[in-house]
Symmetry: D2
Subunit: 435 residues, 4 copies
């Protein structure tokens, strides 16, 4: 990565539009949470930008990240988005059943005021959902309507900048095809309504065309195609993805580094998930699950280096399953059976039962990514931001780079970058003082 330069201080009071395609459990939990924190009703637990400190031994050691870096504050954020179901954020949050009434009631007015714009949506890509609040017309027309939505929103809310964070469902599994091979091919495909163009790609395209960074909280291809990489490069747009790292994968990328650090062997890792929310329903469709499975299976190889350690990691049975189980609601539950071995090959087992809350873990990631993507965009970065891998199950890298999945290596990389920004910010402040 290039050294950061030219990071300018924020102007006091400038607003940042945070636009979310898919205003379900994650988006509404994120939005309600930001409002609750603003009103001092709750703590932004899980948010690195709000609670994190510099950890290194440099001169920022122990200072809050948000006190050192010129980040958009919670007060600066203006939320909007799109959804096929027309419920406002208050109604959608009640339906999602993540947050208690005690938390939602005091925010009712603010949340009711946020209504989803008509979505680009196609049941061919997300088979278990549907709704009336959708755009009509060709893909080209939809892409243009989204751009108009974005511009209109920013104007209406007087936002200086914006960022798009995909908080929608997992789309059906797809591989890169001719329509994704170049920007030219992609735009031609928009014109001919090509069925291999997923809605999430249209959102990513619209974001980039209007100058907004695009952060992808689902495992969909979305921005991760040659066509849209080309667009990001050309337009100087920051991107990040894919798939918020929550629950089971968070634990997996925590425990696997321990095995590797201690040179303990691994025979197999069986992971099962039960969840009862909209996400669970969508993933009950095998075609959407495949997208997720590919995202979830990749992590072990990257962390364990089987080529370097064939005697330890050369033959791992790694299996991931997800089951829709309504009694769980949004409280996803994971069960992992890990078969490891030690000295002379003697077998041991670790079982992990994680009773987590999917949206509670994802919401601060969505907010942090909006704030950090804005920082990177303002610093003149473009394309995949590898230092944001910390937040993703399936990190996208620049061409030729291997993805880092080890949570602690991701953390190290993240902080290395934050230090660069801190230096750049200090320098900018100095120049401003001199100037």
């Amino acid at each position: 990565m290039k050294i950061v330069s030219g990071l300018k201080p924020l102007r006091k009071g400038e607003k940042l539009a945070v636009l979310m395609p898919g205003m379900g459990a994650v988006a509404t939990t994120a939005i309600a949470g930001v409002h609750a924190v603003r009103k001092k009703l709750a703590q932004p637990v899980g948010s690195l930008t709000q609670l994190g400190h510099f950890l290194d031994d440099g001169h920022n050691h122990g200072r809050l990240i948000k006190d050192v870096l010129p980040l958009a504050s919670f007060d600066d954020l203006v939320f909007g988005g799109w959804d096929p179901i027309p419920d406002d954020v208050y109604a959608a949050a009640c339906r999602a059943r993540v947050l208690n009434r005690d938390h939602l009631e005091p925010l009712k007015a603010e949340l009711e005021a946020i209504k989803p714009m008509p979505a680009v949506f196609d049941t061919e890509w997300v088979r278990r959902l549907d709704g009336p609040n959708v755009k009509k017309g060709s893909l080209r027309e939809k892409a243009e309507a989204l751009q108009a939505d974005i511009r209109g929103f920013m104007e209406k809310h007087r936002c200086a900048r914006g960022v798009m964070v995909w908080t929608g469902s997992t789309e059906v599994y797809a591989e890169i095809g001719p329509a994704h091979a170049s920007l030219e091919a992609f735009e031609a495909a928009l014109d001919r309504n090509d069925p291999t163009i997923a809605p999430s790609m249209v959102y990513a395209y619209a974001a980039m065309k209007t100058g907004l960074p695009f952060m992808n909280g689902a495992p969909n291809l979305s921005q991760d195609t040659p066509a849209l990489r080309e667009l990001a490069e050309r337009e100087g747009i920051v991107t990040g993805g894919k798939d918020f790292k929550t629950g089971q994968t968070l634990m997996k990328t925590t425990i696997a580094p321990m095995l590797h650090a201690r040179l303990l062997g691994l025979d197999g890792w069986f992971s099962t998930n039960i969840l009862g929310n909209r996400d669970g329903e969508v993933l009950d469709d095998a075609a959407s699950f495949k997208t997720k499975e590919v995202s979830k299976l990749s992590v072990l190889d990257s962390i364990l280096s089987p080529k370097q350690h064939p005697e330890l990691y050369g033959d791992i049975d790694h299996k991931v399953t997800i089951h829709y189980y309504p009694p769980r609601g949004d409280n996803k539950e994971g069960w992992d059976a890990i078969d490891l071995y030690g000295w002379l090959g003697y077998p041991m087992q670790i079982k992990v039962n994680f009773q987590c809350r999917d949206s509670i873990l994802a919401a601060p990631l969505a907010v942090d990514l909006a704030i950090l993507a804005d920082l990177a965009q303002r610093a003149g970065e473009k394309g995949p931001q590898e230092w944001l891998s910390f937040f993703f199950k399936s990190p996208v890298t620049a061409a030729g780079n291997g993805a880092v999945h080890d949570l602690f290596q991701q953390q190290t990389n993240l902080f290395a970058k934050l230090r660069e920004y801190a230096d750049a910010a200090a320098q900018a402040a100095k120049q401003a003082a001199v100037g």
Copy 2:
């Protein structure tokens, strides 16, 4: 830590005496394992010195640690030790029931040849054990007998160097008293048979007096007193401790860093252990358990920084219990109930059931510590080796330093030091070539 200098290459074929007070499950598993690996009957799984690679991006990246550093090899190790029970290592290993007959039979001759020397032992300090193979006389006489044992062993086996690794039981809880305040006070206490001098302190004293590094695999005070720090400093002796990091604490120092990295809050952490080996029997004595408990409870505060994050970690109920449960044998089993919370304070739970094997996890640590302590001693280090914290539940530091418990930070520190040694070794090789 000072920069390493003067690390001289090993002379081919020089032997390293590895002397272990307490030849029970851990020691016999370690010894049998080294012999099995020598005979290519098994892999040294879990051993950093044998299977670990340099991880950094420098010129050693991806090379085996043992190919880069001048470490004593498994072929160079000569094992001996002391135990109140006079069984040879083969008999003791059979009794310990850690390794299968299939692994032990081919090693029978080698293991039978290793017989424990009479131990310094006192049932006041380890109440649940006893045996006839013990030294008589005053503490002073015992300390001298140990030194004679060490010198005799090294002469008999033509060892160029030696190292002592405490693999004995956990002693009764004790705090630092007048007899430990200075070397002078300690030696006077030896003379008057002071009951506050624990057997493990006598071993540490004897090791240092004969020039051997002392590594402490149990949570006993042992070398961790002003008196013996003074001796280590004066004699230039490397020390390390305390308490091999295995099982539950290994998992705890893996998962807690994830909570901290993700700024997830913690309400409580309940840990229970069931184990049926000699260690379990000893820890069933409340006085020994207290020593262990103190060792196990300290880790969370260090990792989570409650002062920096009172809203996340300011009020944690942390409870650790150990139960002697014979059906488990050496297969210690841990159950952890972790009560965390996320965004806006919503609670989640992680349950970890670790069906581990205590001695299988500890044995490679004992061997690695012997080899790395020898490296440090040859490099002219002395006193507590903080970079070895990676191997310990309760790392001892130089005065004024806080202990690091985070497994991944410990790993980073360990590798930083290994890089120093690699540089020193390269320089030494270059000088040798020039000279």
Copy 3:
């Protein structure tokens, strides 16, 4: 057991006083629940008297128990009790944090109206609690004050009959001594304020002296002494106990019968409990825990018949521990590690993690026992009611009888008795019709 006779139909509208020493989590949950069910705000889940059906193949098959037997209905119950803390039931229920505000608010008026009478309480017997709402004077005076309380309550609330259910804390462990050997000795001990007379014994005495059945929801000796058995026999008083069968023991007496039915062997059973309510705090005192431990440990022998099956059950390591762990609140959590073996002795393991709610499981038992004890009393029974073993961890039997712990055998015995009552009720109805 003798054949039931003379069971007379209830008179419409007669009230039954349900008096509870100890108005904490269990009592307030029971009382609030009965009120909620009366108002049709909730279902009496877990209550055999309200939801259970006759299971046999006789002519009552499939009929609701409460439609067949002349039981006091929820509408007939009038609740009262004693507690050292003077909070009314609404305040105490809020403090106990078992039931949600949503459930408690609509019952506020009814619950606030129930205020505990001053308790017979002694911190020597329950060391972790205290409160100002206590009776003064000698034990004899306290016993008489309780009787006056009972008579006053029944008069004030126009109750035709009453029953006492101990829902208080577990007292310090005690064994039967001279003061409990006969009624005469007991009354003399009351007079001289003998410290071996526990408060729960005074309650049991007062209940019997005023004609009330005494049901014991804790493992205390209470009514289970020669002295009070003599009184129960003389006064014709129904008794039942000890210790509501909830949580871990409920599971244990479910799973152990399977092992026995299938002739699977058992090496060990390790049970740990974490809970954070008042009960957990009391049991954190070793002296109270011992009372509980004795109650919990007895169950396996009775179910598994080790004498009949020494090869399967002759050498079981059975261990039970309880830990006070505040994050859990009233949601007790149990973890059981069960080491069984099958064909040719091959080992297997069952782990059970029960995330239960102590008071939610106990409340319907308290209510059912009140209703069924009243039934038995009206039928002219006296002394220990073995058929109520189904509800107890540590069933009290008539002299010479072994306790039955197997849940399903308890269920069989319970229904056998209910059928007797059904027959008696049918006969009584017939006689009434004839007469």
Copy 4:
């Protein structure tokens, strides 16, 4: 069930042929175990016929079942069978990796002597297996070859009687079709090689035609068709099935009766299984899994009576999954998440992790069923033996009867029948004495 009559005492030394289609893990574990018990090398743990006692209060109370009833003894059993893989029982047992070498070595000679006869096998019905040791020809010819095998085996080994126990794999899911509608249709289908006739049906047909009871350890239709019911009725053949009750279903039919006894509500029950043996491989085929799934899903409704308790059991999410996971080998592992609720509807959870051994649990059932089926056949019974439901996941009943799944109700029914046999045996002995 009719009252047993005419049960004649066994003649000393008469042999019973136990013929098993499918000589994999279950069959070889059963055979090796019987030989080990004969040699007093191991205990027949898990076997009701060998270790069970009469439980009732009658005059047989506490006596061993095998001392009261005229059962074939382990010494009387002669094992044989069929398998597409030609390995002898010793080789197959080694391959199955259920029993240790320590157990198998002393039995080598006996086990090597038992070689499987060529099997009726079709990869259309079990897709993941294959082998060369198969019969050729039409279904009719195969059926006749099996009958010849049976007669030849019994003659060669001088067996007075025989019984067939299906220990083969789960076949592809099938429903009853025209070919199974009557015996006539079935025999015509044999003649025309009808593809809806499964191999297990041919075995059941051959067994009945030669007078052998047929016990079905898998969930296949096999004997459970109108055609073969007709044959069993006509020939007076005892039948039993389906699917040995082991592991997860054993636990489920243990815990669900507790919920029902205590009137606790149920929201959902999620069951997952991981196993790595041949059975796991076969069930990884969706078509075979469906057969198993139907067998496993039926149990809850029968135990919980949702029609009687719509408020408790009217809307249960019950999900069962099985995953092939090689690291587990024959040690099947189950994880159950049970979502129950109590008083006023408050939710609780039970998690069960059963680390079982599939063949270790199934082997004694196979042996017990052989011995008990022989008893019933000698007593003149015919058709489905409902009293054997205790051993089956999916009990077959006579037309019109509902299956009983509650383990304890099954146990009650089993013992009721055993008492009948005891009475009949006593009477027969008396008559013999008189005669």
